[in-house]
């Protein structure tokens, strides 16, 4: 373990509770270490102060998208968020992700988030069978560039928690699902663009986006769901006015 940076511990307020137990803040004192992440802090509390604290993580290196939480009111990937950058007056606040039902403490139910990926037709529609050869794809083609732009989404739900349209409209598919739909729409190995546009132009689809851009501001992988949703709006409009899909 790295050295303790200062004598005074930081004050960490964790929002705790869940179904049947109203959410309440509980404050812990945690030693401040060098290069400490917010996930390290939550783990320290669970291992040293209160083993009943519930939270979720897996990879600890920003790949799996499991550990997102609200830190000082901002949705963040906690394994890549340094405490030193979010400490305000020797204190931080940690809470469960916004816009998702809380299971317990810092663990939220991600089902609504992933269900919407399916609703947005975020699945592959193959052009070939396993018996065919692999289709050659030009990495410089315009479609591939659009698909590549959103491919690094780690499903952390930070954008979903940042979106006020999601907060106000439970049917809205949300930035991540729509960006996934846009990625597949531009994938040359995807056979069915029409079904994607059908899925994203209905109730809760891309046209409900108010272009606030919080998804793009807070995406930890610096992706741009706002641009992806704008692309879907444009594609659905083109189809409405008679331009054929592939």
């Amino acid at each position: 373990m790295a050295e303790v940076l200062q004598q005074d511990p930081m004050r960490v307020t964790v929002l705790r509770g869940g179904p049947g137990a109203p959410m309440r803040p509980e404050t812990f004192e945690v030693p401040l270490y060098e290069s400490q992440t917010v996930l390290d802090v939550v783990s320290w509390i669970q291992q040293n102060s209160d083993p009943t604290l519930s939270y979720r993580f897996a990879c600890r290196v920003g790949m799996c998208g499991s550990c997102a939480m609200m830190v000082n009111g901002v949705p963040r990937w906690t394994c890549r968020t340094h405490v030193q950058k979010v400490l305000v007056g020797g204190a931080i606040e940690v809470g469960p992700l916004r816009n998702l039902p809380v299971i317990k403490d810092l663990a939220v139910d991600m089902d609504p988030f992933f269900d919407k990926w399916v609703e947005a037709e975020g699945r592959h529609h193959p052009t070939r069978t396993r018996d065919d050869g692999i289709a050659p794809i030009d990495p410089e083609s315009a479609d591939r560039q659009q698909a590549t732009a959103g491919i690094e989404c780690i499903n952390c739900s930070v954008c979903y928690a940042a979106c006020d349209t999601v907060a106000g409209n439970p049917d809205y598919l949300g930035p991540a699902a729509l960006q996934r739909a846009w990625t597949l729409y531009n994938d040359e190995k995807n056979a069915d663009r029409g079904s994607i546009l059908d899925a994203v132009s209905g109730k809760g689809g891309c046209h409900f986006c108010h272009s606030m851009g919080s998804c793009t501001i807070y995406c930890p992988n610096e992706l741009n769901p706002l641009a992806a949703i704008a692309g879907l709006k444009s594609a659905t409009a083109r189809r409405f006015f008679g331009r054929r899909d592939r």
Binding site: G73, V74, I217, A227
Partner: protein
């Protein structure tokens, strides 16, 4: 717990667009009612036009022109965002919409006083 922070330029552009739209929707019926007085009660219309010479009303008109202009420029930005190929400097476009609206409304105010 701390509230979710929204004070980034595109969110502010969003809320300005909504509030200006609501304010214009509330104003327009009054505007059309005043215009209708030209057909029905000319004297009452002259009375209301006299009120528009008051400094406070001129200041309110400045605000009204700003709201109209910022709603129009902001709307053009959104149409471009949704219909044209993606343009990265959206914050700059939003700032330009607000700046352009301020220019138009200030020009209106300078002519009015």
């Amino acid at each position: 717990m701390k509230a979710f922070p929204r004070s980034h330029p595109l969110w502010l552009a969003y809320i300005l667009h909504r509030l200006s739209g609501i304010a214009l929707a509330l104003f327009l019926p009054f505007h059309f009612w005043v215009l209708s007085l030209a057909l029905t009660r000319a004297a009452a219309l002259d009375g209301l036009l006299g009120v528009t010479e008051m400094p406070l009303v001129k200041a309110a008109e400045f605000g009204l022109v700003f709201l109209l202009a910022v709603h129009m420029f902001g709307g053009l930005r959104l149409i471009a965002l949704e219909w044209l190929p993606w343009s990265a400097p959206q914050k700059t476009w939003a700032a330009a919409a607000a700046g352009g609206a301020f220019l138009v409304s200030t020009a209106f105010l300078l002519r009015a006083i």
